[in-house]
């Protein structure tokens, strides 16, 4: 699209690729229409531009929640010759940003065949722990008195293995999102961090504000009907995950600070957190998968379904195996269940920086930029004269 402001030199503007050009084309149409401004953050953010550079496109792509409201309301959606489909165009660029901002960068390629990546990682995790169990115990069907799984794998061994992998995942995601933030917040236009902006962004993330459709009735899934179930299932998944994470954290504190070792009784804090979290992490992903299967095929990028569904399935299996382990920890199934659960958890942590998990990190960063920049005057107040 033609440059609007002749003052800005084009020389430093990176050339857009095919998917980015498509977002630019569609945003130019949307910016001249603006009917969707009430749905989410993408369109108000769009009105701050007359043209869209690569950084703007990466930012907008990650701001989009693929709620589908704009697609079903679009007068320019196919079969109109403009063929506007913002959720799809944004999804395609979004995947590219996960790929390109991944650290170490070559591993970003894992996004290209992400279903396979998660499958292989799960296989490897299972193989590792099953063979370790066999090596240590000589048998997969081992019972331990009181369900004491540390009898199979000592606490410190597990703590070391998982904290190393988790630490790497946090580092990789941290470097990735830092590079993303630097691009969307260039030195010449810094984003001044304000507490209120951080709080608002945090609330938008925690409440999944932009899956409410702008009117509170929810987003679109199968058709133009609104539903709050995607938001609810995502809440169950996210908060379920956080409770499970808290269960592990509390157990670690018990272990090191109180010298109180697992296994803990059912009515202990770590186990209760794990049960509630685990149930959320069963129901949430199951619901998300159900919605994903029923989604309007036009909404979002069909090619990313293996990534989405693979991640959902892995979360579900992590939770199911964890609850199974709890249920049968005092039987001879302990050895097998423990190996399966640890293998899946390992696969989850290993792939964290190269799976759908990254969406939460990048989207949170985009939402933070949005709450910061909306506190600044709109540099383009087109038409408000």
């Amino acid at each position: 699209m033609q440059l609007f402001n002749p003052q800005v030199s084009r020389q430093l503007i990176p050339v857009l690729n095919l998917q980015e050009t498509e977002v630019e084309r569609q945003m130019t149409i949307c910016n001249a229409c603006r009917y969707c401004e009430g749905f989410c953050a993408v369109f108000p953010a769009m009105t701050r531009h007359l043209e869209f550079g690569q950084a703007d496109i990466h930012y907008l792509a990650n701001l989009c929640h693929n709620c589908g409201a704009c697609l079903s309301a679009c007068q320019y959606a196919a079969p109109h010759e403009f063929a506007v489909n913002v959720p799809k165009a944004m999804a395609k660029v979004r995947l590219e940003t996960y790929t390109n901002y991944a650290w170490p960068q070559p591993l970003g390629k894992l996004y290209q065949r992400n279903g396979l990546t998660l499958g292989l990682a799960s296989g490897a995790g299972l193989a590792l722990f099953l063979s370790l169990t066999l090596m240590i115990m000589g048998n997969l069907f081992v019972a331990m008195p009181g369900g004491n799984f540390y009898g199979i794998f000592p606490h410190n061994t597990l703590a070391l293995m998982f904290s190393a992998v988790f630490g790497f995942a946090v580092l990789a995601l941290g470097i990735g999102v830092r590079r993303f933030w630097r691009e969307i917040s260039p030195a010449e236009a810094p984003l001044p961090l304000k507490t209120s902006a951080v709080l608002e962004a945090g609330a938008n993330v925690a409440q999944l504000k932009y899956l409410d459709g702008g009117h509170g009735e929810g987003c679109n899934n199968a058709d133009d009907e609104f539903t709050l179930w995607r938001r609810r299932f995502h809440h169950l998944t996210f908060y379920g995950f956080m409770l499970c994470f808290a269960a592990t954290g509390v157990a670690t504190l018990y272990h090191f600070l109180l010298d109180w070792s697992a296994p803990y009784p059912i009515f202990s804090l770590p186990v209760l957190l794990g049960i509630f979290g685990g149930v959320g992490l069963l129901v949430g992903p199951a619901g998300l998968l159900w919605m994903n299967l029923r989604r309007n095929p036009q909404q979002g990028d069909e090619n990313q379904k293996p990534m989405d569904r693979g991640f959902i399935a892995l979360l579900f299996l992590v939770s199911a195996s964890g609850l199974g382990l709890l249920a049968w920890r005092e039987t001879s199934a302990l050895g097998l269940l423990l190996a399966i659960h640890l293998g899946l958890v390992m696969a989850f942590f290993l792939t964290m920086p190269y799976s759908k998990f990254a969406h939460g990190i990048f989207r949170s960063a985009a939402l933070l930029k949005y709450t910061i920049e909306k506190r600044q005057p709109n540099p383009i107040s087109a038409g408000s004269d």
């Binding site: 699209m1 033609q2 609007f4 402001n5 002749p6 130019t28 149409i29 910016n31 001249a32 229409c33 603006r34 009917y35 969707c36 401004e37 009430g38 749905f39 108000p44 009105t47 007359l50 409201a69 704009c70 079903s72 309301a73 679009c74 007068q75 320019y76 079969p79 109109h80 010759e81 403009f82 702008g214 009117h215 009735e217 133009d224 009907e225 709109n378 383009i380 107040s381 087109a382 038409g383 408000s384 004269d385």
Partner: protein, 484 residues
């Protein structure tokens, strides 16, 4: 036999179907287009002009009946029916709760549309979101909806509706036989004839230059408004209202698609620069009034120019001050270069701009008021926002007339009844674009089409249900009261 048959699938048709169904009538709605194109021109709309005496959710201040009426009187130049106009105006003050109850959401004015924050309530997501909501609600309430069902004939008996006829047709390779659908009452809400190129040609004729102006018109709205039903009703002797050349017509980007260009093809920089025709000459005061009050006259102005073509010219000073256009402007560093790129007579074009520049009496430029920047001794004058075009680069946007909808329609009264020789049909009603010409003889003001469509769609639905034997419920008694 179905109680109420609604022909059409836009806002007015849906309002009629919902109202009739709400009081218990069985309703069938026939949408002529396929499902993906449903909603007629309503899918391109964005707001409803609303009367209100005090601030109301998304509406600020007040917009009393009298002011609304005066605005309408001004844009139509008196070509309006006061009684019907006031019905639409009053209904606009109270219909939004009903609209919400069927799933329509309102939102504060869009950025770039703050100037209508007082007068217009915006649909969240625009008209297609509204149409989707109405269709969902209609389905839930049990309205039978059929797509690809264009009515080609109406069977009458002494001015009373008997049945609608669908011709034999092919949809997605499948053949459907001709059909005859009877109903106790019928609402016609199938739109104007703006997408009927032959009819437009017939209406606009040939001009003194030997051109057929309408051949150069673009249609901002649906490709399905070919006026088949309107023509049939006129042939059957229904009383007509309006001039076939009158329409909601704006100047849009000449590169817009032939149909369904909608809102994004508009060019909003006219008042910030000058407009020249194919001969490189100016032809009208670009700064006569605020753009929202003038955008609707520029379609006809451009239609009167040679080849129905014009160019909106601005310089760098205007950038960022108007809604971003969907197509890029033609850019040049000098005026002669711009003339070359646009294929305009260079000498005349440069002279026009220079004459204008020299005539500009620059005061304090302020696009938010009718400022004191104007030309002196120039014909035509530019009476506000006249600033010399001297800061390159220069930008040009090609303009063509864009028809939104036509005003020729069926004459009606406060019951929305179709009339034959001045006599109201007992069970045939009309709503939406097919009767908007009763209120809009010419001109346009934002959101009035939806106000008329909603008011008369609802009246037509109630009346149709009433003559099919379904009485007044508390929901519509108020409307009845307003209507009589």
């Amino acid at each position: 036999m179905v109680d109420v048959l609604v022909i059409g699938g836009g806002n007015a048709a849906l309002c009629a179907a919902l109202m009739a169904r709400e009081v218990g009538a069985s309703v069938m709605l026939l949408e002529g287009s396929p499902k993906v194109w449903r909603g007629g021109n309503s899918q391109h709309t964005r707001n409803l002009r609303c009367m209100h005496d005090a601030p109301q959710d998304v509406l600020v201040d007040a917009y009393p009946e009298e002011e609304y009426w005066q605005d309408l009187l001004k844009v139509t130049g008196g070509l309006t029916n006061e009684k019907l106009a006031r019905i639409a105006i009053r209904a606009s003050s109270s219909c939004r709760d009903w609209m919400r109850s069927h799933g329509v959401h309102f939102q504060p004015p869009l950025s770039g549309a703050l100037h209508v924050a007082r007068t217009n309530a915006f649909f969240m997501g625009g008209g297609k979101a509204l149409v989707n909501a109405y269709f969902r609600s209609a389905e839930r309430l049990g309205v039978k909806i059929r797509y690809d069902a264009q009515v080609t004939d109406i069977e009458l008996e002494n001015g009373a509706f008997v049945a609608a006829h669908l011709a034999e047709r092919e949809v997605d390779g499948q053949r459907f036989p001709a059909e005859r659908i009877e109903a106790r009452a019928c609402v016609l809400a199938a739109g104007g004839f703006e997408s009927n190129r032959e009819w437009l040609r017939e209406a606009w004729g040939q001009n003194e230059r030997g051109e057929w102006p309408s051949d150069n018109f673009l249609i901002r709205g649906t490709r399905f408004n070919t006026g088949v039903l309107l023509r049939r009703m006129l042939d059957l002797g229904a009383d007509a209202v309006g001039d076939p050349t009158q329409a909601h017509m704006v100047a849009i980007d000449a590169r817009a698609p032939l149909y369904d260009g909608g809102i994004c093809t508009r060019i909003d920089c006219v008042s910030l620069g000058v407009v020249v025709n194919r001969d490189g000459e100016r032809f009208y005061d670009e700064g006569e009034d605020f753009w929202p009050k003038r955008y609707a006259i520029w379609g006809r102005l451009v239609a009167g120019q040679p080849n129905q073509q014009a160019y909106s010219i601005i310089d760098q000073q205007a950038l960022g001050r108007f809604m971003p256009p969907v197509f890029p402007g033609t850019t040049a560093r000098t005026l002669p270069e711009l003339a070359r790129l646009l294929n305009l007579p260079q000498t005349q074009f440069v002279k026009t701009i220079e004459d204008y520049n020299n005539a500009c009496h620059v005061g304090t430029f302020d696009h938010t008021t009718l400022d004191d920047c104007h030309t002196e001794g120039l014909t035509p004058a530019k009476t506000h926002w006249a600033r010399p075009l001297t800061k390159p680069p220069y930008y040009a946007y090609p303009l063509k007339p864009g028809v939104t909808f036509t005003y020729l329609g069926l004459a009606t009264d406060e019951t929305a009844a179709v009339h034959f020789d001045g006599k109201a049909s007992p069970n045939l009603f009309v709503a939406g674009e097919m009767m908007a010409g009763n209120v809009l003889g010419k001109g346009y003001t934002a959101g009035i089409g939806m106000a008329i469509g909603t008011a008369f769609g609802r009246i037509a639905g109630v009346q149709a249900a009433l003559c099919a034997g379904f009485g007044l419920s508390p929901v519509n008694s108020e409307l009845q009261h307003a209507a009589v």
